[in-house]
């Protein structure tokens, strides 16, 4: 398994290289001058030119690209060309918040989605099934940021139960949990809906398998068949696609972070785009690509844990 993981990690290097080249090009194709963005419209041409030179933007593109690659290979993500803050520090300060939000949403998704999906599948075409199907349809259709606004109106503005601004102190458990609750609910709704649908269809598929019929004919109780034979096999696609969905959640967290004014990679990225902060933008995009690769790798490795038939040779 370790060898497999290493091989997969090695294969990921060219993928990351392609991504970071694309990011480098796309960032520079964007119209807008970072020096003007930084200095404002009153700045003289001399000041703008001086800042461009200091930012290294007057160097030829190939030289900027080589400098970018060189810095990355040394693990140096550079400093923001706008504020002068190290990008690595910026990313490090917000990553815990994004990961916390994403995993809280995943946790909520599995915690509520699996029981809902199971109940819908075993009571197919009943009221419970219809209710769950409508619920998951709404969950998938309503954008997370819109749901976030509704949650704020109810829980923060009307009931004054939970805060609405920022992410709180990360290491202060109470402060952290009160700040993450609403954003996680907003994002977790999507995941819950997704897991509910996946669980339902997966269980219905497995229930038609011969070995399930055999288990029933052996006289096993419905509960035993469901938990020992059906659910275990149904979990394989749920885990697989759920892992991939984490990547979607990280992307969807952008708007949730903005609505809740919460620190996070998404807020960092959007701010960098608006300010034409090339170094921050490049590094955050590369970090996103890195996260996607890692999530995919973890998902592949997780197959083996839930499905003993899979061997990593």
């Amino acid at each position: 398994m370790f060898q497999y993981a290493m091989r997969r990690a090695f294969i990921s290097i060219p993928i990351l290289l392609i991504v970071l080249t694309l990011v480098f090009v796309v960032v520079r194709v964007l119209p807008g001058d970072p020096a003007v963005a930084a200095l404002g419209d009153q700045a003289s041409k001399e000041a703008v030119d001086a800042l461009r030179a200091r930012m290294g933007l007057n160097d030829p593109l190939w030289l900027q690209y080589l400098k970018f690659l060189g810095s990355l290979s040394r693990g140096d993500l550079g400093t923001s060309i706008i504020s002068g803050f190290p990008v690595a520090t910026q990313i490090a300060s917000v990553v815990p918040y994004t990961l916390e939000l994403t995993f809280a949403a995943v946790l909520l998704g599995y915690l509520f989605g699996i029981p809902l999906g199971v109940s819908a599948a075993v009571r197919r075409n009943s009221f419970v099934d219809y209710f769950n199907r409508v619920f998951s349809l709404i969950g998938l259709s309503v954008p997370a940021f819109y749901l976030g606004i509704l949650l704020i109106l109810v829980f923060s503005v009307k009931l004054r139960l939970l805060p609405v601004v920022g992410g709180g102190e990360f290491w202060d458990l109470e402060d952290n949990l009160t700040h993450v609750a609403l954003p996680a609910l907003a994002l977790g709704m999507m995941m819950t809906a997704y897991v509910t649908r996946m669980t339902r269809s997966s269980i219905l598929d497995i229930m038609r398998e011969d070995y399930v019929r055999t288990a029933h004919s052996k006289g096993l109780s419905d509960r035993k068949v469901l938990y020992k034979h059906v659910l275990r096999n149904a979990l394989i696609p749920i885990v697989a696609l759920g892992g991939l969905y984490v990547v979607v959640l990280i992307g969807s967290s952008v708007m949730v972070e903005i609505v809740f004014s919460r620190p996070g990679l998404g807020k960092l990225l959007v701010g960098a785009i608006k300010q034409r902060d090339y170094t921050t933008l490049q590094s955050v995009m590369v970090f996103y690509a890195f996260l996607v690769v890692i999530c995919n790798l973890i998902t592949e490795l997780a197959y083996g844990l839930v499905d003993p038939r899979i061997k990593y040779n």
Partner: protein, 548 residues
């Protein structure tokens, strides 16, 4: 007798105690203020580079100038770090006597802070004059600085200018802020960018990128220790998030939308008031005379006749939008052209569709024409007024297509001369800067000696078909070097009337600012004009009153 004195003494002490207790009871226990700006992040903590609204408000809390615009009424200037100043007979040498007891915030080099001297002032001003360390270096060319003694600074200018123009360079705005020499020399410029050290009422405590900047009160502040213990400035680009924060009380002051309906809505929130204040950016429509058909005066005049400032102002909101007639800074700025003056000069062409059609026909466009204009995505300052303008000029047969781009792209495109009309909202510290940057030939985009924001190409083209290049360069320069303030104002107005008559631009409206706040926040001054920060200033007198 002794007894009487004793009784009086005790009474005075008791009254003092009661008074102070009563005062304390009026204040909230938690003197931590949260203010949220419509910004994704700050761009710079360095006062000599700060340019955005949030940046200016943030550096204003930490730094002082030699003189300052008083909080809330920033039309005049008053002493700040300098206590008094004198000027030589030839108006070239200015001597500033510094205030004693001005302390810099503690920094790595000076853990308990140190007292400001002329060395710091000279160092700061030289830094502001260097293009390597300042975005405002151009403002200080031909000016030298010298520390005459530890508490006296001598500033010499090659070519004298009037007092209002001179002092504005040393006010608490842009290059005028005084920074700590010792801190920068000890730790370097790069360090200072993220660790600002000034003399203001609040000292820098921490910065979380794209989140917030936190300040603590500076107890040694020379105007007295601030009432607020802590100020947190948050960057919240989403207006609904700011609104929610204000409703829940997590935020005390928020940057608002420049929209009537929004202000009405926010004013209904519990414990919230939404005052509006000036001076506002002048929203102006500049014709690019290097691109046909706007090289033709008749077309520009027709376009102007098709417009109605009142209709646009009503569309933008009666409580916020004020029609303007000055093609530079609007009143009450010194030297700004009023409506009456513009009308008297016969330089107002608006609200006359028939005249517009007639002029278009004369110019060879009896059926109107089509044009595509690049415009910023920003709603209240750009898109919304342009939508109103689009509808108005359509009545005259002008089909104006709007190409909306993001704000950074907009700034690049208009400087590349890519749009036949530029709708621009701006404020500059005085008429000289405004007229120079928008109408002097040196400032013509791409082609000028110092290209900035002369989008119209005025000064490089024949604006009124008299086969001569039209310009206000001479008037601008004459005014700049005029030492008599009244004559200077007259010259500025003369330049503005010429600009209006040549229809180089059409002044449309100024749009007031609003920063809704909790009613239990006392800014410490009446807020009427906020020149240099575009936002309410947080000062040593700002406080949070007791509330439920």
């Amino acid at each position: 007798m002794k007894r009487l004195v004793l009784v009086l003494l005790v009474s005075v002490i008791m009254m003092g105690l009661l008074w102070s207790l009563a005062g304390a009871a009026d204040l909230s226990k938690d003197q931590a203020l949260n203010i949220a700006f419509d910004a994704g992040d700050l761009k710079s903590l360095d006062p000599h580079r700060a340019a955005a609204t949030a940046d200016r408000a943030i550096v204003d809390m930490m730094f002082n100038g030699l003189v300052r615009y008083p909080p809330g009424n920033q039309v005049k200037l008053e002493p700040d770090i300098a206590e008094t100043w004198t000027v030589s007979a030839d108006k070239k040498a200015w001597t500033f006597k510094l205030r004693k007891g001005v302390f810099f915030h503690p920094s790595a080099g000076s853990p308990s802070g140190y007292e400001l001297t002329s060395e710091d002032v000279v160092f700061s001003l030289k830094r502001a004059a260097s293009k390597d360390t300042s975005a405002y270096a151009g403002d200080y060319s031909g000016i030298t600085f010298e520390a005459a003694d530890p508490m006296t600074v001598k500033i010499t200018i090659d070519k004298p200018i009037s007092e209002p123009l001179f002092l504005a360079k040393f006010a608490n705005y842009a290059g005028g802020f005084i920074v700590s020499k010792k801190a920068i020399e000890a730790k370097g410029e790069d360090w200072f960018k993220t660790n600002p050290v000034g003399t203001g009422p609040f000292k820098f405590e921490s910065y979380e990128p794209r989140q917030k900047v936190v300040f603590a009160a500076s107890p040694k502040y020379f105007r007295g220790a601030p009432v607020l213990k802590k100020v947190t400035a948050r960057f919240m680009p989403d207006v609904s998030s700011r609104e929610f924060g204000l409703q829940t009380g997590e935020l005390h002051i928020i940057e608002g939308l420049k929209e009537d309906k929004w202000i009405e809505k926010v004013s209904t929130f519990k414990d919230v008031k939404a005052p509006t204040f000036g001076p506002c950016e002048s929203q102006m429509l500049y014709f690019n005379m290097s691109i046909p058909p706007f090289n033709d005066l008749r077309v520009r005049k027709a376009f102007s006749y098709a417009l109605s400032r009142d209709v646009i102002a009503n569309f933008m909101g009666k409580s916020l939008a004020v029609p303007i007639y000055s093609p530079a800074l609007a009143p009450p700025a010194l030297g700004a052209l009023s409506k009456e003056e513009a009308l008297k000069a016969g330089a107002v062409y608006d609200n006359n569709i028939e005249q517009a059609k007639k002029l278009l026909a004369e110019a060879g466009f009896p059926n109107g024409f089509k044009t595509e204009v690049i415009i910023s995505e920003m709603s209240s300052s750009y898109q919304k007024p342009m939508v109103a303008i689009q509808a108005l000029v359509r009545k005259a047969g002008i089909d104006m297509q709007l190409k909306v781009v993001d704000h950074a792209s907009f700034h690049s495109k208009i400087r590349e001369n890519a749009s036949p009309i530029v709708y621009y909202a701006s404020w500059r510290p005085n008429e000289d800067v405004f007229l120079t940057q928008f109408y002097h030939s040196d400032s013509v985009v791409q082609k000028g000696k110092k290209p900035i924001t002369n989008f119209s190409h005025y000064g490089m083209v024949d604006a009124n078909a008299d086969a001569k290049t039209d310009s206000v360069d001479q008037l601008i320069e004459q005014a700049r070097w005029e030492l008599n303030a009244q004559k200077q104002e007259a010259l500025w107005k003369e330049a503005q009337i010429k600009i209006l008559k040549d229809v180089v631009s059409v002044p449309i409206i100024r749009l007031k600012y609003t920063f809704p706040q909790k009613s239990y926040v006392d800014l410490g001054y009446p807020l009427e004009w906020s020149w240099q920060t575009y936002s309410p200033q947080i000062t040593e007198k700002t406080k949070i009153l007791a509330h439920k």
